[in-house]
Symmetry: C2
DNA sequence: CTGATAATGATAATCATTTTCAATAATAAT
DNA sequence: ATTATTATTGAAAATGATTATCATTATCAG
């Protein structure tokens, strides 16, 4: 279902109005596998949507995150980064190069990981009475290129 | 070995001069199990060390992190937090309450976790040629108190 | 088509962190 | 111990990401 209202139905119940910036931002994120910052999204959209405001980018990203359509990450870099989180995209974690900032998705070990995470969630609930809602696993190090330099 | 030079030898080779702010900051962190922000450290030290500057706190924290004596965390809160990382403190991960910000250390599952992490590091090195140097695992959710509210 | 009002975008404000730079203090040299 | 060297400090200003304000605009129910 292409067109300006592709994502609209995903929103019903969450917000009132479907607008151009919302479509554009979600569309951009859905088309890339990159982890974009607000400013990168802004720079990208300025070309096809001159006049869009950085403020709106931030607001919309918050909104999309709350509805669960995108995910927000802080990779120890100055700015937060966002990625699309549709069901097409498998659950995964990240490798972050501390030298050049490159981010690699990986979904290896999904099974062992899920096992550990679920076991952990259960036991942490018992021991600390903590209700686990989300988890984050990341590896920091050097990418292939940066190991050479 | 108490006294103003308790931590001094840990620094040799890393920095030139051992100073009061450095001792004070490291001492504070070594005495608490909390995860303090720069501003919290500043507020704490002002009492015993009037005149200390927030700038120095930031600089010293950077320095201590580089030597590996403390660890820096971003828990999706506005500010970074720091904790002491001596050998007395076991390797552990965190539960973060998204409602009140409470942070709980846990070191359960250490064995399974270590196993998974090491296996992952090895395979990620092969598949992505990525050199893993550090990892981070965290669970987000609600603490006991916040589940009631 | 029209009105109510949610959403936008320019601007200013905030907040954590970093930079600058003159003054100070830790250490090496005397 | 005294002095000289220069790393370190702290006040102030700068930065950079994000958020708040508010008048204007655009969506959409009626
Ligand atoms: Mn990803
Ligand atoms: Mn901890
Ligand atoms: Zn790299
Ligand atoms: Zn809580």
């Amino acid at each position: 279902m292409p067109g300006p209202h592709r994502w609209r139905k995903r929103f019903e119940g969450h917000i009132c109005r479907w607008t151009m910036p919302r479509e554009a931002i979600l569309d951009l994120l859905s088309r890339t596998t990159k982890h974009l910052s607000a400013k990168e999204i802004y720079a990208n959209l300025l070309q096809i949507y001159p006049g869009i405001g950085l403020t709106t980018i931030y607001r919309t990203l918050d909104l999309l995150e709350k509805t669960g359509m995108i995910k927000k990450f802080n990779f120890r870099q100055g700015e937060n980064r966002y990625e699309f989180a549709g069901e097409q995209r498998p659950h995964h974690h990240h490798l972050i190069c501390t030298s050049c900032g490159k981010i690699i998705d990986y979904s290896d070990f999904a099974e062992e990981e899920l096992e550990l995470v679920e076991k952990s969630a259960k036991q942490l609930a018992e021991k600390y009475k903590f209700l686990v809602q989300d988890h984050n696993i990341e590896f920091y190090g050097l990418c292939q290129q940066c190991q050479k330099d």
